[in-house]
């Protein structure tokens, strides 16, 4: 047990140490002459930090991890100049709060569906940021965003409001590549593998034909 009050003193020692650490760390940071300095938000949020951990938002911002997810956006393929979305409806089915609304494009004559969304809405007042739509999309057409500041002024135009329509949702794949570099790399790899496979399949298809004909083989392979 010990003397009455020692427990309190010991505790006060801990608070004193915290108090000193708060200043000591900033002092060390200011006196650091080496020139290689970590930005403050990064330094303050590492497991090595001893002093303050707070960051002065919105002046300072924490770097977001790549996996960070906020309301989804639609990826626009800048290479093919087309939406990646085929309006297959899987995202609308896996959405737990059912906040995704898709109107599929129909051929005006044959009434057959065209793989492209005519309208696409995400009601961000309902979206729970679970990330299922991005996870289960077979075309990598919908991704979770890093932009978490969605508030708007009432005088702003409706497209800034919380029910996002297709125009508001669509963002170029270069943006996707910039916020999700590893995911983008995976997509590129998969695409390359796919193309290699296709090419191999095409060649395999071509070869027996070549073998069968024997003559003018080289031109047939083209």
């Amino acid at each position: 047990m010990g003397l009455l009050g020692t427990g309190i003193l010991k505790g006060l020692g801990v608070t004193l140490r915290h108090f000193i650490d708060t200043y000591a760390e900033d002092l060390k940071y200011m006196l650091n002459k080496s020139g290689v300095q970590q930005p403050r938000p990064l330094r303050r949020q590492s497991p090595k930090v001893r002093g303050l951990v707070t960051v002065e938002y919105p002046k300072e911002r924490l770097p977001l991890p790549e996996n960070f997810r906020y309301v989804p956006f639609l990826v626009y393929d800048t290479e093919k100049q087309d939406d990646k979305c085929t309006s297959c409806g899987i995202c609308a089915k896996v959405c737990p709060p059912q906040c995704i609304w898709i109107v599929r494009t129909e051929d005006p004559v044959t009434k057959r569906p065209i793989p492209q969304p005519k309208e696409f809405y995400i009601d961000t007042t309902i979206c729970m940021n679970c990330g299922y739509c991005a996870e289960f999309c077979p075309f990598d057409a919908i991704k979770m965003d890093h932009d978490y500041e969605l508030s708007y002024y009432p005088e702003q135009e409706p497209s800034a409001r919380l029910v996002h329509d297709k125009a508001r949702l669509t963002k170029p794949d270069t943006y996707h590549a910039s916020i999700h570099p590893t995911d983008w790399q995976r997509e590129l790899n998969e695409r390359a593998a796919e193309e290699a496979k296709k090419k191999a399949a095409a060649e395999a298809k071509a070869k027996p034909a070549v073998a069968g004909k024997h003559s003018e083989g080289n031109s047939a392979a083209q």
Partner: protein
């Protein structure tokens, strides 16, 4: 099945039970014996016709309602199932009955028993079921809130219940929300996904889509303009009983003297003070409403306390301010949809909730996640336990009056853990990480390094610091030692689980008592203290954090023996179909036992989705802990239970 369906009617009038008797032995003899445990067999031998085992279902059906209490007493005393883990009900609307399901368990471990009774559900969607079930409160005190919940949600009355009122909705609520024929406002369909979303999904707000007047069932003769709500009907009745001078006409509606929430109202008639009759020494008993918005109640909880001076003489809880009928939403959802919703139960430890749900569904589907996923699950669940206990201790100190200095120290550590969660899963609290048969993402090398840094360096150091700051502090000891005492037998009878039960000397932790996932591979202890008071609940939490650190360290060390990237069993799917059946699965969350009782009809959506919430059931025992203490201690005792209202109210 057909004779099973007629049983409830027969059970309703035990004297006339002759009719279905000849049919029963056949149903009893057929296949079920193989699935019966020895305990159930013993039960059947002892009670004969009163308990049967209907073929397609797990567990035993108590056929004779009148014998339910006798059967349960036998189960408790002779078979040693001393704790009612879970009580809930299922509305089988096609078969025409409501099945009340009990899961008693042994405080020394093992799987719970399943016992059921059936009552006809009645044709009137508003009236309660015509037959009442005997209340089990005299046998298991922990049944009190659970039976009130069943009454509230299904309209099954419990005979002999001390205070049978609605608990999550308010008095005067129209209908029984978990019955299958009850529809919520903005009802769109029984099950998701809704057809209106695709392929012709023109967006429409729910409020515009469903016209208000078509969607609300007004009681017959209801006049909204002259209706005066009395949501507290019956609340003050039992608190007043025994107080002379109050049962006169003025208080006929039970709470005429209580002006409003938060009002302190004199309850005791001045003439009835028997101690002394000098003016200056008179003490009045008053009823004080603490909450629903009060910093000490950890959310929107309302404690109605009767005070004699500063001493609490009675306490009642008013719950449901955060009620959103999680279970109804769960029945609308597909199996997969429910995972992110479980995060929102106890939002301090979302990953532990996910684990509970996912392993229960895996049990029904009969799949097993790969090794690496198991390890990742354990790492996440144990880190969740650490951050939840940091939070609990910080806010316990808040309740003691040490405003925010200790809490913020611990929130710092918690935030570092949440940073890791965010990097791995994408979100700090609503992680949505577990999947059926795996997890959604693997740890990268960086993330493993970060987890190692936390588990091997930072957190152990900070737990030491926490102990230095608090454990020997004389003021904390003076405020907490001996406060909120609830002995082991009472704790068990109240179905108290989690750190509070272990602080009463009962080494009951589901990770050991009924192991799940891969907890049997790790070397860790179940810390137990014997004080059964607030101080020991604090110490158990600190000791548990140290054990969780041990588990995380071992799991991280063993993680390199598994194959990176191998985190999902089978192919990733979104349209799971779970085989018809039912299961009760549970995990040890930082708050206690979190159970999921799931019933599947073989479709894409759960037929019944029940959450056995530890915070909710732990609150049963609050009254017994608090009565006799000062009102300031009531706040501390509530803090020591560490409830989260998201899970209490569901």
């Amino acid at each position: 099945m057909s004779e099973e369906m007629t049983n409830p009617a027969a059970a309703a009038k035990p004297a006339a039970a002759a009719k279905p008797t000849p049919a029963k032995p056949a149903a009893q003899k057929a296949p079920p014996l193989a699935t019966l445990t020895p305990e159930l067999l013993q039960l059947q031998q002892h009670f004969g016709e009163a308990v049967i085992a209907p073929a397609p279902y797990v567990g035993v059906l108590v056929n004779d309602l009148g014998k339910l209490r006798e059967v349960m007493t036998y189960v408790r005393d002779q078979l040693g199932y001393d704790m009612l883990a879970n009580a809930t009900a299922v509305d089988y609307i096609k078969e025409g009955y409501i099945e009340v399901v009990y899961h008693p368990q042994r405080s020394r471990g093992g799987e719970p028993l399943t016992l059921k009774v059936r009552v006809p559900r009645g044709d009137d969607p508003v009236a309660p079921a015509p037959v009442a079930v005997p209340s089990l409160v005299p046998v298991y005190a922990g049944a009190e809130f659970q039976e009130r919940e069943i009454y509230d949600m299904f309209g099954v009355r419990f005979e002999g219940h001390p205070d049978l009122r609605r608990i999550l909705t308010w008095e005067g609520f129209y209908g029984w929300p978990l019955r299958k024929d009850w529809h919520e406002p903005y009802y769109e369909g029984d099950t998701k996904p809704f057809d209106s979303r695709w392929p012709g999904g023109h967006h429409q707000l729910a409020e515009e889509r469903v016209p208000w007047h078509d969607n609300v069932n007004y009681p017959p003769g209801f006049d909204p303009l002259n209706y005066q709500a009395n949501p507290d009907a019956g609340l003050y009745d039992t608190m007043r009983s025994g107080v002379p001078g109050l049962d006169d006409g003025s208080a006929s509606n039970g709470h005429a003297q209580v002006a409003g929430v938060g009002a302190a109202v004199s309850v005791l008639d001045r003439n009835s003070n028997l101690l002394v009759d000098e003016e200056e020494l008179r003490t009045d008993q008053i009823i004080v409403n603490m909450g629903p918005q009060h910093p000490s109640t950890h959310g929107v909880l309302r404690m109605v306390v009767k005070l004699d001076g500063e001493t609490v003489t009675d306490l009642k809880l008013v719950l449901g301010y955060l009620h959103r009928n999680h279970e109804k939403i769960g029945e609308r959802n597909t199996w997969l949809h429910n995972i992110p919703y479980t995060d929102r139960l106890d939002y301090i430890c979302g990953l532990a909730n996910e684990l509970g749900y996912v392993i229960t569904v895996e049990k029904m589907m009969g799949i097993k996640p790969p090794e690496r996923a198991e390890y990742l699950r354990v790492i996440m669940a144990e880190l969740t336990r650490i951050e939840s206990h940091f939070w609990a201790i910080g806010f316990l100190l808040n309740d003691l009056g040490a405003f925010y200095t200790p809490a913020l120290y611990f929130i710092t550590e918690r935030d570092l853990i949440l940073d890791l969660f965010e990097a791995v899963t994408g979100s700090r609290l609503m992680c949505n990480y577990m999947r059926f048969g795996g997890v959604s993402r693997d740890f990268t090398e960086d993330q493993i390094m970060r987890a190692r840094e936390l588990a091997f360096e930072r957190i152990p150091r900070k737990i030491d610091e926490l102990e230095q700051l608090l454990t020997d502090n004389e003021i904390i000891k003076a405020r907490t030692v001996g406060v909120g005492y609830l002995p082991a037998e009472r704790s068990i009878n109240y179905s108290l689980t989690g750190p509070c039960l272990r602080a009463a000397g009962v080494p009951y932790d589901i990770r050991r008592a009924d192991p799940y996932s891969i907890y049997d591979r790790f070397d860790f202890d179940i810390p137990v203290f014997y004080g059964a008071d607030v101080y020991d609940r604090y110490r158990v939490r600190v000791a548990e954090m140290r054990q969780s650190v041990r588990i995380v360290q071992q799991a991280l060390n063993q993680l390199d023996q598994t194959k990176p990237g191998d985190i999902q069993a089978g192919k990733k799917a979104y349209n799971h179909r779970v085989p018809a059946g039912q299961a009760y699965g549970r995990v040890e969350t930082p708050k206690g036992e979190l159970g999921f009782y799931l019933v599947s009809d073989g479709g894409q959506n759960p037929y019944r989705y029940h959450v056995r919430s530890s915070s909710f059931i732990n609150l049963n025992s609050l009254k017994e802990m608090v009565v006799g203490h000062k009102v300031a201690d009531a706040v501390v005792i509530l803090g020591s239970l560490d409830i989260v209202l998201g899970e209490v109210d569901r």
